[in-house]
Symmetry: D4
Subunit: 215 residues, 8 copies
């Protein structure tokens, strides 16, 4: 298993991570993790590895794009001194291109996405044991769908960044695709983005598998 | 134009019609029509044909399937003595097959759908000037998507029933398909079912075109 | 049709435009246009001219008079870089003279109204493709009513400003008068100012006709 | 002064009387009279004639027409054993004809109004010391306005019924007309029906004058 | 009658005046006067003297003592340029001495009360046509009750200040005493301070009598 | 001490007992006793006599008069099988005579009060170890006040009934009178009826003294 | 793995299962499972075994004891035709003995518990593929604590019933004891009963292990 | 009895004192003391010693640790000029070590606790008549429980500080232990920290005994 005794694992991202987590810091009493995949991961790690005394923090904020993470990276990631940082970003960078096509200022181009994401990694690596990058996704089985195709582009960027930096990469898009062999996307998320409890657990399970938490 | 002076036009269906209409009868003061396509249609008719003194009633109820309409058809349609009845039903009959595959009691088969729908028509025609049938739809451009394919089946049933009974048929699925040439579905509805204001107006415009309201 | 591909059309005014639009900017997801005539216009344009990818923004604020627009014109109009600006102002400038006669500081004289309005136009014209001016109105059929008479004065000012600057003028007062041939004002607005859904659509239809949107 | 020691005076009518009175009976602790003219009358009588120990009850219900009063007259008037009954009804009987012209079942014809009203009086007179009838009104100065003209018809019916039965008649329409010599209707009621505090007091003052309460 | 055409009359005081008046200024649309005696006075004046176009403003704030008025006198009285100022203060100056005996910092001594009140008058008189002073009161019939006796002291101070400055004095304590010949205080106010609607009207009637408003 | 191991003590009365106790039965988890003197008594007994395992139940209901107790005595007292019943009733029987003098149907005469109270006792005594009667009270130091004088009459009735039946009598009126030597009633209750926390504890202390709970 | 394609698994119990599940049936859209261990189980099964199309239903109700299950077993279990029934009951049967010692009617004796539980099993077994029994628990590490000792008695009853009927038994008490080697109970539940997210996941993991769901 | 006429007694601490007290200062009208032991103490003192006119102030804030008291000691204690200060702190200093073991920054070591507490005492003694120190506690009967053992350490620190400074010490832990001879902790507090009404009264009774309030 990747994590060691007393490690602090920080999750950051958009609404998929947020799901009503506590402010300003998503950690501690009263289910401060919210109800996203982060709480599934945190609860599983604490239940399965109680001897490790792991510390899980959820810093997701709904609607965030990579450039929002850049603005708050110092206070919301670096200053919290995590041992590990898990990132799930990019969905809103793409989504706005399709649900708000008239508003180009809400779009993030692949170039800006890659550059911004790379800066986050560069800022973080010197200070942590490692990072886990999760692919943005669109729960659309049809790869010809233009938003799916676009999301795949961004997913490929994240994969490339992970490979370049030797980081763990969790391919959520592939995980959904596997699931869609048995069920329609609307069994997981009406809007093909925000997973229900099944979907949150599915993300968590991909993460846990990637970090070798197999108890 | 189809409608004549003092005609009463009743719309019935599911959440697509409902959109917070007044209870028990969606008619009268305080925007009782709610905010669905029904209010777009009603407002346009009253603005464009003020001399006709038309009466528009919204009887949609969220979540309804054809069998729910059957149960309330007497009180919610016949007893209100409409001159025209417009029906938009079938979406939930199909949707549950995909978002709740484990719960077959929530599914309505094509046969049950057709039979139930036909009974509604038979009960109504003797008492009205006419009916307008709107196709159920799924805002999914990919015709190979299983839910889209399934919805097309139900749409075909509605079209067949309209033709058989000589009724106006409004092909909403075709109207969305046309729109998707220029925009992604998520610009109209995040869940591909419940239209935003653009989508409500788009439905209303198909209806108005069908009834010849071209002022 | 007046508008061209990718044009941004900004609507500004008082509560008649506002109707619960999003803050700070009335544009984007979650029906940010509110429920006024602006959403009827925006939804119709996007439904009928999907290929134009038009951008509609609602910047109305309830209770505004011309002097309120002057204070926020820089941030709320100019800085948003619209291609077209549609203005509907003047109702509160007059109304306060009649519902708050004891409070002269809430009244705006015709001179101040004209001067303020002219300044708005002068500031805007260099930066846009054009402006559309809508007349303030009072849904009072009796032209001898003192508030109607007063409102007609202000409407005449707006018409004069439109003509002087070669701008489109939408005569809403005339549109209501036409409607009142068939119905009493209280069928449109209990307070003779704030239109119900029929009235909102009626305003929208006058606007659409004026800009040549006839699909 | 009309009223005598320990007299119970019951007010009945529509929203103009109701104004959030207590249910089921509008009498007693915690400002149970609501905030309509009834509380102005009740408070003035109790302040000015404390030695009379008068009892004031408000039984108005918003939206009521004469036929609604008929249905609840037994429980809401007769069974409460008032010494005096004051009636203000008819506004909704007329208003619906103009704000809901498409819905004839919401209209009350002059004949039905007169007959219903006459029955109320006949049922009541044997059991009380007297009745006070207040004219329905529309705060429209223009007597040519069709709703004003219609309301005047109903006001005339009430006056006729009062005269025929030797009852006190309070001409509220005339009282508003007098007031409109100095102010516009919108200074009293935005919808020309529901008075603000000035209007409530104005109704109360007409009533008090009529019953000779001049302290 | 004391007031002349277009006069502005400002009422200031504590919760007895406040009763949910609008902030920051208790004047204008939507019953901004609240529901205290101020609205009874305002409504009566506007109903009875419509030709005078009087302007009534309510600036009461719950819990205020004379020293609170001093702090806000500039902004809440002088800067609003009233023609007449009516003051009802002193109840909380005394009440705290009895309901919070342990907290001397919440008490206002007679000397501080008189001095503070005198300063308010001195600041105001040069700028207005006149002031009306209302006595603080305690709805306790028993003059031997220590709080009643104390309140009478403060009432005497107000009377003395009125006489010294030639101002109208409204003796509310005497008005309650008169009323208590016929009813127990708990018929007016459960806490012997905050009047119900009867009590508010009673205060208003004393004021109106004092200013000669006898229509 | 009066109570023995496992005794169940039931308190019944009006709002003075109620103070937001749980429904339908005021006993058990989540502070079901509410916040009246009953919780002060219950908490003190359980803290001071933990070995007795006493059971305290609060069955007060706001606004109750003796006749309301009669209606619910079977279900709310007898059926709960208490060992001891403590009654505090009579305040509303008197209060209504003074705060609602116009409404004689809300008054309870001394005769009706005594007869009703006696019936409660007769019904209860055979089934319990004993009863404690608490005097109704009015926190008015002036015995000449008519409501205080009237309340004293009812207090005397309760004392007489206690003596006649050999029951414990708790003279709350006397306890307040003692307290008023040092403080004004408004330090205990603004309305002279509903005690604040000091007053609730004061009632509880009288009760505890009467039953000999002196730990 | 225990479950087969299309199996329906029903969970029943008290608040530990309930955690805000949907009413009347805890199944379907909008996270109807609530947030207890049931949702952790359901989500994991659907994520890990998508090809099985399993159906999970949560019928827990807060505060339930075994006798409450008996009353609703017909409608809430049998009539829903589950293939498997998982039961977690007994906590409240014991807890009331300690948090409400004065109220014996809220206690359930071991005999009544065993008899009631056995009846549930007897009623169910003929109609299902199998049952899973989970031990009631108290998150108290000290086995000498009287409530822990008592709970262990009830846990032993459940184990005995499972063995007697050849059913799966999930020993939650043992699972907590294992966890308490590494953390204090208050890291899982402040009241030692209601688990936080870690605790819910821990219960779920015991269940999943027991049924052989090891993907 | 310790307290003298007009003494001001200030209570400070964490949620055990707070229980919804008024902000910013927990003193005065409207039950500003909240519902903790502080109100039991205050109410008892005012009821039993009315001639002393004592002043009780509650300054508890939920979640506070000793270091939080240090930050607000100047404004919340010294500046209020109490004659006596009663402190109940330390529970959260220990609790976080057990419910949030991963978050060491939320823990307060015994050394830091003692040093911080000593500073509070040193700052205060010169300005007051005396201080009362109450032991932090954990309602855990088992002294081997690690959190109980840890809390006992902190309790010993408080006792030592009291002795060293000659202050009254109230041993709440001992008082709970005594109570647990007769009842389980969950009869007082589900989470073993926050007492119900019985527990609040129990704390209050220890305090009152310590200060010699035995009336």
């Amino acid at each position: 298993m990747l994590f060691e005794k007393n490690d602090k694992i920080l999750f950051i991202g958009d609404s998929i991570s947020d799901y009503d987590r506590a402010r300003p810091v998503g950690e501690g009493l009263f289910n401060a993790w919210g109800t996203s995949y982060v709480s599934c991961v945190g609860a599983t790690l604490c239940s399965a590895y109680p001897e490790l005394n792991l510390r899980v923090v959820n810093m997701g904020i709904g609607g965030n794009q990579v450039r929002d993470l850049q603005k708050r990276w110092r206070t919301d990631v670096i200053d919290l001194h995590p041992d590990w940082v898990s990132v799930l970003i990019g969905i809103n960078d793409v989504w706005r291109q399709f649900d708000s096509p008239q508003m180009p200022e809400t779009h993030v181009s692949p170039e800006a996405f890659e550059e911004g994401y790379a800066q986050l990694i560069d800022q973080t690596l010197p200070a942590v044991k490692g990072m886990i990058l999760m692919s943005p996704y669109f729960m659309e089985p049809n790869r010809q769908d233009p938003m799916r195709a676009r999301m795949d582009e961004y997913g490929a960027i994240v994969r490339r960044l992970a490979e370049k930096n030797g980081l763990l990469f969790v391919d959520l898009q592939a995980a959904w695709d596997e699931l869609f062999r048995y069920m329609h996307p609307c069994n997981i998320a009406w809007d093909r983005i925000h997973p229900n409890q099944i979907g949150c657990m599915h993300i968590a399970r991909q993460f846990l598998k990637a970090v070798g938490a197999d108890r």
